[in-house]
Amino acid sequence: MTNAVGLESAFVVGTGRCGSTLLSRALASSSRVASVSECIAVLGAHRVLSSEIVSSERFVRIIGEVSPDQRAVLALRASIKELASVSEPSPELDHPLCWLTLPGLSSTPRELLAAVLLELSDETEMPFGAHMDRLFGAIARHTRRERWIERSGGSLSYVDRLLEFWPQAKLVHLFRDGEACAASMSQHPYFRILVSRAMTREPERPISQCLDMAIPLSRFGAYWSSCILHGVTALRSVPRDRVLQVSYSALCRAKERELGRISEFLELESDWVARVAPLVRANTTARPWPTELVRSCRLGHECIASFDAR
């Protein structure tokens, strides 16, 4: 399926803490696809998946701005594994695309950024989301890839908006057992912020207050279930041949088989599975979980099972 700029588009979506970073890393070793990691998350889904019509110039300016929230999250980078590699002494002075996304695609991310932004610098006016499509296309072309696959942690919560802008995109939904996922989220500052804000219905609740909030583990389970419910409901509207649901635990148990399904679905090169299989290691987090956590995850598990059975 091709989009407006003639490049195929695909997304890896998930709740976050579900193994999608690993898959993104594996996709990066394909010579066909640009594995665009954390682009929408870093730029802010609420900001970049907007229907507001803006000029290219304004789009380029806005994605280069560091929001107060981004600045506050950056200040926590020592405790966020994904951001630990952001090593600039003053990362807020650098372009957000150079924090995580472009370093995963090029050893010279600033040069890549300059080339991409130059391509986008014209007078075109269109919705913000359509500019994102051009951005991904430019990244793919400048990294000499045929197409792109974007993956941002927690993207299942806004997959309906992805489908608005990329109705023809292929989607890999990677999920992990709710209880393990919730336990992992509870240890991660980014998800502590998300859950705190969702619980209090304060989307701009100060980060320090979010991190100080005592949140029972079952609340993370409920958050996981709500993401799955929201996302899988949206995925049900997508034709079957454009959605692939993959279990992280199955990926760890039978990696060749599951990677083979992903490879076939995304039409990757024939030796991709053999090359990336060593990246996948067994991950055993199964343990007796608290009853309240299990209960809070039940709805999410039911959604996943019903999607598989459709």
Partner: protein
């Protein structure tokens, strides 16, 4: 249990989860649960709270959401939710008595 009782108790649980307790005495069965402030996170809480309220081993919330989308014009009303609870309770009760 009378239907009115199901409606009243369902309404009370919904406004409680939605953080709208001040509405507890004004039952509106035609009101959408989402307009009352139930979002996807609170829908999970609502499922568990209704199971506790009516002593259900499982309330098929996913099935209810799907049915509402198809059959009832995606209104997701309190009355429909109460009916789902009533049917789940009856199903459970008849299952127990047939054992």
């Amino acid at each position: 249990m009378a239907d009115d009782d199901f409606a009243e108790r369902t309404w009370r649980v919904i406004v409680d989860i939605a953080g709208m307790r001040h509405l507890a005495s004004t039952i509106e069965l035609g009101q959408s649960i989402f307009d009352l402030g139930i979002d996807s996170l609170r829908l999970v809480d609502l499922t568990l709270a209704l199971e506790d309220e009516f002593a259900l081993s499982k309330l098929d919330m996913l099935g209810w959401v799907e049915r509402e989308k198809v059959a009832n014009g995606a209104k997701f009303t309190v009355g429909s939710m109460a009916e789902a609870c009533r049917l789940a309770k009856r199903h459970r009760t008849s299952g127990e008595s047939s054992r």
